[in-house]
């Protein structure tokens, strides 16, 4: 922990011009100030549920240095806060077999990444939207709407691998970092808003991070890493491209794709860019597994 590190404050400027803008610095900062007993994460074993409200305790002096290297512990805390908020918007699908299956496939794919030891957690959430999410520290979610469109395990692996790549490349922390830089500039311009309370007034909800688009290049990078991770795990590498192809067949105005297309490049763009990178490089691979038969289908 870098408790002594400077407090990055005030999501001003670009992010506060719209009331809906801004990452949840407040929640994130609160998370940084959780009581010591909560620091026992990231053990993957079950942890006691949080107190009734579930909100981490208010911090007296929560600090995190987003401009430097964020510790894995802090990263997981940020991810936990964001994920808890997301699950507040859309709970997990009540299907133990489904959740176990997705965690198993996801963990196997994540083991091929450069961060195999994160406490990876995967969940399918109750939403007919077609989307998937990642939060720092190894939290991955996909909607029931997306899961239903999948045809085999290789496609599931491909989707999860794309999200895993966001985590391993710390794409969301990147955005947080950029926000922090902007806020520093803003601070130097406007000295009048200071302090943690002001920060919390300016920001929205932790889950809003999910509604926020990443850099387009980050999405393309996650596609490149995603197909490779799926292939390394022994799956057919064409699972993710097949899912992108499927999305391309849907009307862009389909409301189930609303958030996806606000936060991602178009499927055509993604296929095209991925194609440039892949070229003939996968020609030498031995065929991976698709597992259409054993793929778990939601009742």
């Amino acid at each position: 922990m870098k408790k002594q590190a400077l407090l990055i404050a005030l999501a001003l400027g670009v992010f506060s011009t719209a009331s809906s803008g801004g990452f949840d610095f407040g929640k994130v900062l609160e998370a940084m100030g959780q009581p010591p007993q909560k620091k026992s994460e990231p053990t993957p074993t079950a942890q006691p549920a949080q107190p009734t409200s579930g909100q981490p305790a208010q911090a007296s002096a929560p600090q995190i240095n987003l401009l430097g290297k964020v510790s894995q512990e802090d990263e997981i805390r940020i991810g936990k806060q964001v994920s808890g908020d997301l699950l507040g918007a859309a709970p997990l699908v009540k299907d133990d077999t489904l959740q176990q299956y997705v965690n198993t496939v996801g963990r196997w794919v994540a083991l091929q990444s450069k961060r195999p030891d994160l406490p990876w957690k995967f969940g399918v959430i109750e939403s007919e939207d077609i989307n998937a999410f990642a939060a720092p520290g190894g939290f991955i979610f996909l909607t029931k709407g997306l899961y239903r469109r999948l045809n085999n395990e290789a496609e599931l692996a491909g989707v999860l691998a794309h999200e895993i790549a966001h985590v391993t490349k710390k794409h969301h922390l990147d955005v947080l970092r950029k926000s922090a830089l902007i806020s520093m500039v803003s601070q130097s311009v406007s000295k009048e808003v200071k302090g943690e309370a002001a920060v919390q007034n300016l920001i929205g909800n932790g889950a809003e991070m999910m509604a926020r688009g990443l850099d387009k290049e980050a999405e393309h990078e996650a596609d490149r890493i995603g197909v490779v991770l799926a292939a390394r795990a022994g799956y057919d590498p064409w699972g993710l491209p097949a899912v992108l192809q499927d999305m391309a067949t849907l009307n862009a105005k389909d409301s189930r794709l609303g958030l996806l297309y606000k936060t991602h490049p178009t499927a055509a763009d993604r296929l095209s860019r991925l194609g440039e990178s892949v070229g003939d490089r996968f020609d030498i691979l031995t065929a991976g597994k698709e597992f259409s038969d054993r793929f778990y289908r939601i009742r």
Partner: protein, 177 residues
């Protein structure tokens, strides 16, 4: 390199979600159409970027398409499936539409029509019970490895993909994780 092992059932993508044999698509680049789904197969035609094609079959990383009078195999990533909406408008049009919808800050997403939209996410309250459930489903590395071994999933040595030549900009400042 022809993946004959693929079953016929997997030949057809869930393209357009229909049983129709041919699904519409759009050529994303100029590419030779090959006689077989293999880079070493003979060239039997030419697919032109922007052309509307019919996707007849899928096999591994290849799609069999009809373009004009020719029918042959091209790479899966060289064609975008679909005839309308997300795809139909074409690359530039879609990108433009998305950009126009964006907030000037380019970071704030516009609220969706329904479903899991930004408003839902903004108003969401931390759900500790669901987080506890999420924890219970956690699979550890040993369990994942056992699952892979049992199902014959073998680790493959696959090199990282380079950025496309067209792409500029720097990578993540967080280093190679």
């Amino acid at each position: 390199m022809i993946r004959i092992s693929k079953t016929l059932g997997t030949l057809l993508l869930a393209l357009a979600g229909s049983a129709a044999l041919a699904a519409p698509g759009l050529a994303l680049k100029d590419e030779n159409m090959l006689a077989q789904p293999s880079a070493t197969a003979a060239t039997i035609g030419k697919m032109t970027k922007g052309a509307t094609v019919d996707i007849v079959a899928k096999q591994g990383g290849w799609l069999q398409i009809k373009s004009g009078k020719s029918q042959g195999w091209v790479r899966l990533l060289s064609v975008r499936a679909g005839s309308g909406g997300a795809g139909g408008a074409g690359l530039a049009d879609v990108a433009g539409a998305v950009t126009q919808k964006s907030d000037p800050s380019r970071v704030v997403a516009v609220a969706g029509v329904r479903g899991l939209n930004e408003e839902d996410l903004k108003g969401a309250k931390y759900n500790a019970e669901e987080m506890a459930r999420l924890d219970r489903y956690t699979v550890n590395a040993a369990q994942a490895k056992a699952f892979a071994e049992k199902s014959g999933l073998k680790i493959q040595n696959v090199a990282s993909l380079p950025k496309p030549a067209s792409e500029s900009g720097t990578g993540s400042p967080w280093g190679d994780y």
